[in-house]
Amino acid sequence: MTDCGAPEQTIDLPPGTNITDQAIVQGKVLNGPDPVAGAFVRLLDGTGEFTAEVVSSLAGDFRFYAAPGTWTVRALSRVGNGQASVQASLGVSPVNIAVG
């Protein structure tokens, strides 16, 4: 991801999603350049408290409907675990997680 310009839209949102009132955190689980499917991706709030969990898609994608604020996304997978921090605002906030 580059530092300037519009955030990359890594996954198509479901039709009808209103991004003006949702803070969407989404991205990919990656092992080097390769997407990791079937990883367990956990959304932790600013205090480290568990909030939600999804399983990454075949393309390694995950998505959460969060609220504006600071979140941690953490992935557990058979190739290893990893985590990343993200500052979410209304709209789509992209973040990838490196594992392995």
């Binding site: 999603t17 009132d21 408290e49 568990f50 909030t51 939600a52 409907y65 969060a66 609220a67 557990l76």
Partner: protein
């Protein structure tokens, strides 16, 4: 009840996949997970289309459950071993549901699908061909299910345990963060409820925490009072009901399956927001 009588390990499950009298049942939120791969011999139950009444907001009735379990090839004297994704939320819900209808021997795989997959254990796509049975259910056990009037009456008098995430409890979110933010008409929680998120009862791999950790976690639950657990639609609170009743052996614990989607849409009831 105890951990030993209600929980089995993934290792035990793998060793008993073909044991006669043991039926593995997968119940998921993502009801397509089973189709992509499941434990060998496991049958699938769809928590929505098979356990809920298709018209009213309620469970299938006794005759409906008898028909379902008969068709799945499950007998009254079988040991039902449940597992599922999402940290066993819906498997715990099915556990509570089968107890509600009086099935004697039900167990949960500790850690569910997540632990099984992280262990690298085998999944298959073949579906089993079980012989139809004649299953007999009991009347619902009202001692483990709370309905809305009882919940309203419990404010300030019984233990109310809200097991949702802190942000749902405070009213910041309406639903778990992997779902679109919609559901009840109002956000917040039932007055006098304490917030003990279900997730605190589980390790990162989905297994339950130790008895010592769980006892400490629920130290604030007054054993001299009855307890009602709730969440958004009653599945995460089944997970907590399982911990309180089946692991810690507490008495008089009910699950409020109407949960926040019902309470948060009732006219005239008190609602609290904030932590």
């Amino acid at each position: 009840m105890s951990r030993e009588s209600s929980l089995v390990s993934t290792e035990w499950a793998e060793q008993n996949l073909s044991t006669p009298g043991v039926v593995f049942v997968e119940v998921d939120e993502d009801t397509t997970a089973y189709d992509g791969g499941h434990l060998a011999g496991a049958v699938k139950i769809n928590w929505k289309s098979e356990l809920q009444d298709p018209v009213r907001r309620d469970f299938v009735d006794r005759a409906g459950l008898e028909k379902l379990l008969s068709a799945k090839g499950i007998s009254n004297d079988d040991t039902i071993v449940l597992y599922g994704g999402n940290n066993n939320w819906f498997a715990a819900y099915a556990y509570w549901y089968f107890k509600l209808y009086g099935h004697e021997d039900v167990k949960l795989i500790d850690g569910g699908r997540k632990k099984w997959e992280l262990d690298g254990r085998a999944l298959v796509t073949e579906t089993p061909d079980r012989v139809e049975t004649t299953y007999t259910a009991k009347e619902q056990d009202a001692s483990i299910r709370a309905l809305r009037d009882e919940v309203v009456g419990a404010i300030g008098t019984q233990n109310l345990v809200d097991v949702r995430s802190p942000d749902e409890f405070s009213g910041k979110l309406f639903a778990p963060a992997h779902l679109p933010q919609e559901a009840a008409q109002r956000a917040g929680h039932i007055p006098t409820a304490v917030n003990v998120p279900w997730s605190k009862a589980a390790n990162e791999d989905g297994t339950f925490r130790s008895d010592a950790e769980l006892n400490e976690l629920y130290a604030g639950v007054d054993d001299s009072k009855d307890t009602i657990a709730y969440c958004r639609i009653g599945e995460r609170s089944s997970h907590t009901w399982f911990v309180l009743t089946e692991i810690l052996g507490k008495q008089n614990v009910k699950n409020y399956d109407g949960s926040w989607t019902e309470y948060g849409s009732l006219v005239g009831v008190p609602v609290e927001i904030g932590a």
